[in-house]
Structures are given as structure tokens and as C-alpha cells.
């Protein structure tokens, strides 16, 4: 049975009507955390977040406190919030910005105070038209309320926050590509090193890039203490986390659960969560953390929902999105469609990613649609090996960013686990499911 007694942190206003308005936000304790933060000095605020051991919720799972500590001391520095959520089947940030935009804004102001940055930018995925409207409204209300602008709540801290719309590019979720887009350029990831924008970021100035869910946790941490947050979960995975559950499951949705205390079985099958497989089907496989992650089979259902617990089994918790595939799902088709996504979204800078993704997609296409051969399986794996040599996890890298090395995950998982299904496609001259 799922362990569901943890407090709801980022979804505390779930079900509250008009939670996106300042009025309701204030009625439910909004901006109290900011007042508390402003009564402390910036190091104390940062220490509270550090004590929470909050891992970044964007996908890489880097400790937020450590990222903050890396910020190069400079007269000018920036905080950029990544709400470009585009990882297929990830829809948690979409939920947060539409339902509780003030919580995001409050988290940003507190973080900006801790970091003593001069300006903050909230980069929102362009396709989130309603989310952009809600956040713009929240920012307007926050200015009017005195929570943004000059001398916030009468303190000696001023901050401007700008909501910056994207325009449709998965790669802009990569933090250096996001910075390029924010500079008005094509979303090309930057060459590393420097590895961290905290050293060289926006306009070459020190910049912290944090995810929306990470920010949404900050007000609760300030009000309840970093230690209370760290008491939830286990090991390196503290607190609660949003999981976006989709695919062939009875109750798809966004669920906030305590980390590590619950397993994938709880998430997918518990009546209070996923409720089991749709239409009484049988679980065949599931993606544990976004389409960049290698797949799991029913054998891994009892893996706890924790960063290291999933990582040690050769995959990742990534963006917290779990896609359920059942016995009606054609894994060849699913893997082909995921490859097509990467092929479309490759920015084109690096040859292995730009060319490799297209080659793999075309071979996967013919396997699914007819014309495939058994030799194609080795061909696909060889192409994958050219993008991520060794096909190990975490993958080796031949490209500027991690989009390239993410391409092999799904195809390699599908081929290694469901070779018989590929054979059936070859024998049938196309997909036997249609």
C-alpha cells in the first residue's frame, strides 16, 4: 500500500477554487514565507534550503543548495527559472504554473533574496498560453502587493521579475540553450566547460537556473524549516515530489508523493494514485522518468521512487514522468515515435545527434511500417553506439548536450527487452498490432 501521510507541499492548494489569484493565495498563507525570509539574512535563507537537501526537480537532480553555493560573487547576477517543460509525458510544471502561479513567484523572490541577484527571469514554454497569462497576472499582482519591485515589503531588497515566453523548442529546456534563447538567439546549447551558468551564464554573468517545481518547494521550506523537508523521503531523495503519470493507466494525473517511501507499483496500482492498468490490461513496460530514460519492466515495479534507487538500476527518475505501456501497446511503435521526437528536436549543432537521430528514426519507421529486416536491429544499436559509445548508463557523450545521448534509451530498451516483437514485425511485414 502506498504511504500517503506526508504533507502536501507543492500541491497544498489542490482543489482550492481560484488558487491562482492573489486573493486566495493570501487567504491560504501566501507570501508569509517571503516575509519570514526578509526578516533573516540571505545566508540564513540559503542555509535553510541547503538543510532541506532539495534536489533540483528539472531532471538532472542536482542539489539546489550546492548550485546556489557555486554562484560566482559578482555585482551583477541573474536568477532564471526554467518552465520550458517539454520532456514528453511530463506535465507537472504545467500543473504548477496554471494552478498555483503565486507559489512559483514567491519561491523565486525568496531565492533571489538568498542569492542577492539583480534581476530574475521566468522562462515559460511558449505553448503554455494559459500558463503565461496566469503567471503574468501573478507577477502584476505581486508588484501591486509590494512583493516585487522597489523595497519589497519595506525591506532593503528590490527585485524585478520578467515573464519571458519561449516559442516552441524542446532543447530550450537545456539550461544553456535556454540562456541563448533569453539572449534572443537560436536555442543552441553552449559548449562546456564552463559547465555551470553559475560561473558564466546570461550575458556572461553568473546565473542560477532552477526549475519551477524546485521554486514551488521554497515557500514551504522557509515556513516549516529545511529539517522538516529533509525528514521526508530517505537518503539523498528528500521531501515529496510530483509524478506525472500517463499512458495505459486508469487514473492518469499529477501526484505528489513522498520520495522513496513509495514504489512504482504504488504509483501505478494504488487506488488513490494510478488505480491500475486501463481496461483491465496487463503491464508490459513503463518509462520511469521521461522519454530520455531507459525503460523498466514489471520486474522493477518494486523500485522505490528515489533518485539513487532508480539510478542504480540503470535508468533515471529524470523529470518524474511515468508512462505506462500495457499488452495493447506496440513497443516498436512507441520507440519509433520517441526517436522521431528526438530527430525533430535535435538542434543540429552536433553531427552524431543531428544525423544519427534521423537515421535511427528511418530504420525504426521501416521496422514498424513494413520493410524491416532482422539485421536492422544490430544496425540501430550500432547507430546508437555512435551517439553514445558503449551504450552504458549514464551514457558516454559525443555531443555538446545530453539530447544526443538520450536518443538510444528507448530503442535500446525496446530491442533488448522485446526482441521477439521486432521479429514478429519483420515476419509480418509491418506492425502486427494494427
Amino acid at each position: 500500500m502506498a504511504v500517503l501521510d506526508a504533507p502536501r507541499i507543492v500541491t497544498q492548494r489542490r482543489g482550492v477554487p481560484d488558487a491562482h489569484t492573489l486573493k486566495v493565495y493570501l487567504e491560504t498563507g501566501g507570501y508569509e514565507a517571503l516575509r519570514r525570509a526578509l526578516s533573516m539574512n540571505p545566508e540564513e535563507v540559503a542555509a535553510e534550503v541547503d538543510a532541506a537537501s532539495l534536489l533540483g526537480r528539472g531532471g538532472a537532480g542536482f542539489p539546489a543548495g550546492r548550485k546556489w553555493a557555486m554562484l560566482r560573487r559578482s555585482p551583477v547576477s541573474y536568477l532564471v527559472i526554467n518552465s520550458d517543460e517539454s520532456e514528453p509525458a511530463t506535465f507537472k510544471d504545467h500543473y504548477l504554473i496554471e494552478h498555483d502561479p503565486h507559489q512559483v513567484v514567491e519561491g523565486i523572490i525568496i531565492s533571489a533574496y538568498a542569492l542577492q541577484v539583480t534581476q530574475a527571469f521566468l522562462f515559460v514554454r511558449g505553448e503554455f498560453a494559459l500558463g503565461i497569462e496566469r503567471l503574468t497576472q501573478a507577477v502584476n499582482e505581486a508588484y501591486a502587493h509590494g512583493a516585487l519591485g522597489s523595497k519589497i515589503f519595506g525591506s532593503d531588497f528590490s527585485l524585478d521579475l520578467v515573464v519571458h515566453p519561449g516559442a516552441g523548442a524542446y532543447i530550450c529546456g537545456e539550461e544553456t540553450a535556454l540562456i541563448e534563447a533569453l539572449e534572443g538567439k537560436r536555442g543552441f546549447p553552449r559548449i562546456k566547460p564552463p559547465f555551470f551558468p553559475a560561473v558564466t551564464g546570461l550575458y556572461g554573468e553568473p546565473t542560477v537556473v532552477n526549475n519551477v517545481e524546485t521554486m514551488s518547494n521554497i515557500p514551504w521550506i522557509l515556513l516549516n524549516g529545511g529539517a522538516s523537508f529533509a525528514a521526508l523521503g530517505a537518503g539523498r531523495s528528500t521531501g515529496t515530489r510530483l509524478f506525472a503519470l500517463s499512458g495505459r493507466v486508469k487514473n492518469p494525473g499529477v501526484y505528489e508523493v513522498e520520495m522513496v517511501k513509495n514504489t512504482f507499483r504504488d504509483l501505478i496500482f494504488d487506488p488513490a494514485l494510478g488505480g491500475g492498468i486501463a481496461d483491465g490490461g496487463q503491464l508490459k513496460a513503463f518509462i520511469p522518468g521521461g522519454v530520455s530514460a531507459p525503460w523498466f519492466t514489471p520486474d522493477q515495479l518494486d523500485t522505490p521512487l528515489g533518485q539513487d534507487e532508480v539510478g542504480s538500476l540503470g535508468s533515471m527518475l529524470g523529470s518524474g514522468s511515468v508512462v505506462v505501456m500495457d499488452d495493447t501497446t506496440c513497443v516498436v511503435r512507441a520507440a519509433w515515435r520517441i526517436t522521431k521526437f528526438f530527430s525533430r528536436e535535435s538542434c543540429g549543432q552536433c553531427t552524431p545527434c543531428r544525423e544519427g537521430s534521423g537515421w535511427i528514426e528511418r530504420v525504426m519507421y521501416r521496422l514498424e511500417h513494413g520493410g524491416g529486416r532482422m539485421e536492422d536491429l544490430e544496425l540501430v544499436l550500432d547507430l546508437c553506439d555512435n551517439i553514445a559509445p558503449g551504450l552504458s548508463w549514464p551514457p558516454a557523450q559525443t555531443t555538446i548536450c545530453v539530447l544526443g545521448p538520450s536518443i538510444p534509451s528507448s530503442v535500446k530498451s525496446a530491442i533488448s527487452t522485446f526482441r521477439d516483437e521486432f521479429a514478429a514485425h519483420v515476419a509480418h511485414g509491418g506492425c502486427p498490432y494494427v
Partner: protein, 209 residues
């Protein structure tokens, strides 16, 4: 340049540039504004953005052509996006796209004969719990069956959705009120004072240990 934007948008365009430390950062928001006026990115619009951001039309076009939401050719008044990525694929997204294409009489990437609709095969639109996902002008319409989509098309044709689905190009109907409020010199002085205070605290801590 100054003649391109209509009066209300010109004011917003000029304000946008002032929100950023460098004008070029306003490129993407300004391009959205061009689409709000024209429905797509016209040559004159690109030139106007170049002038505002102190760049060249080639640089603006270079940025614009990278992003899926920017259209260098006219699209329909209603731009329909149908997701076929993995979560939607498992919920009939590909079949929904076929239905949309045949209903509107145009393939993905194309525009209907009357210019009212255009269709796009989208990547994940982050609404996977309500798959298959359809957006019109980047608004979630949540038509999950062919029948629901057909009703939507009738509503769009007869103008019954004007209140919640503005024409393609109008991105955010909520406008930012006012520019930056924290004066640069004030911020610089604040941060300098904060740095000094911190240095004193660090020194005091060192003394006690």
C-alpha cells in the same frame, strides 16, 4: 520601423525592450507581437524587430526560423496542434490527427482552402492526463474524441469560441503592467550594502571560531 506596429502594440513593443539588460533579449517576445498583429512573421515585421533590438533582419530571421511557433508563411486563423508523442500515441493521438486532417481538409503542415484552419503534428504538449491532446492557437481544447472535435470545429466556424480562443498570433491576453520598478542604481547600492554586511558577519563568525 516605427510605422509597422499599430499604436497599442507599438507601445508594448517599446516597453518590452526596456525589460531586458540588452535589447536583443526582447527578440522572441517581439516576434510574438508581430504574429499578434499579422498572424505570421511578415518581412516588415522582422525588419521592425531588428530595428527595435538593434540587430539585423538576418539575425532576427535566424532566431525566428529555429522555433516551431514562429511562422514565416501565413497560417490559419485557427492553428490546430495534435500531439502524437508517446503518451498521446497510446491514447489514439495518431488516429485523432488523421481525423483532424480529413475533417479540415488539410494535411499537417498545411492550411485549409478557406484559410481558416492550419494543422500541425505537435510534440508533447504537457497535458498527458487528458490525452489525446489537441490545442487551438496554443489553448487546450480537450477534445478527446472525433465527435468532440467536430463540435469544436462548428463552434470555431460560427465564432462561438472567440471569447476563449483568440485568432492565431495573440499569445498572452494578459499584459505586463509597467516596466522595471527597481532602479538600477538603487539595486546596485542595496547589493553593495548587503555584501558589506555579509563580509562583517563572515568576519564576526571567524572571530568566534
Amino acid at each position: 520601423m516605427s510605422g509597422f506596429f499599430r499604436a497599442d502594440l507599438r507601445q508594448r513593443a517599446e516597453e518590452l525592450v526596456t525589460l531586458y539588460p540588452r535589447p536583443r533579449s526582447a527578440t522572441i517576445p517581439l516576434l510574438h507581437l508581430v504574429q499578434e498583429q499579422e498572424g505570421y512573421l511578415s518581412e516588415a515585421g522582422i525588419e521592425a524587430v531588428a530595428a527595435l533590438t538593434e540587430t539585423t533582419p538576418a539575425e532576427v530571421r535566424g532566431t525566428a526560423s529555429f522555433y516551431d511557433m514562429f511562422h514565416l508563411e501565413p497560417v490559419g486563423r485557427y492553428h490546430v496542434g495534435v500531439c502524437t508523442n508517446v503518451a498521446c500515441l497510446l491514447a489514439g493521438g495518431a488516429e485523432m490527427l488523421e481525423h483532424v486532417e480529413s475533417t479540415l481538409g488539410c494535411a499537417a503542415g498545411g492550411r485549409s482552402a478557406d484559410g481558416l484552419f492550419s494543422v500541425e503534428e505537435s510534440e508533447c504538449l504537457a497535458d498527458c492526463n487528458l490525452a489525446p491532446c489537441v490545442q487551438v492557437n496554443y489553448r487546450y481544447v480537450r477534445t478527446r474524441t472525433p465527435e468532440e472535435f467536430d463540435v469544436l470545429v462548428e463552434d470555431l466556424r460560427s465564432g462561438r469560441r472567440e471569447h476563449d480562443i483568440p485568432p492565431h498570433g495573440t499569445h498572452s491576453r494578459v499584459k505586463r503592467q509597467g516596466g522595471l520598478r527597481a532602479p538600477k542604481d538603487e539595486v546596485a547600492a542595496e547589493r553593495a550594502r548587503a555584501r558589506d554586511a555579509r563580509a562583517q558577519r563572515d568576519a564576526a563568525r571567524e572571530e568566534t571560531t
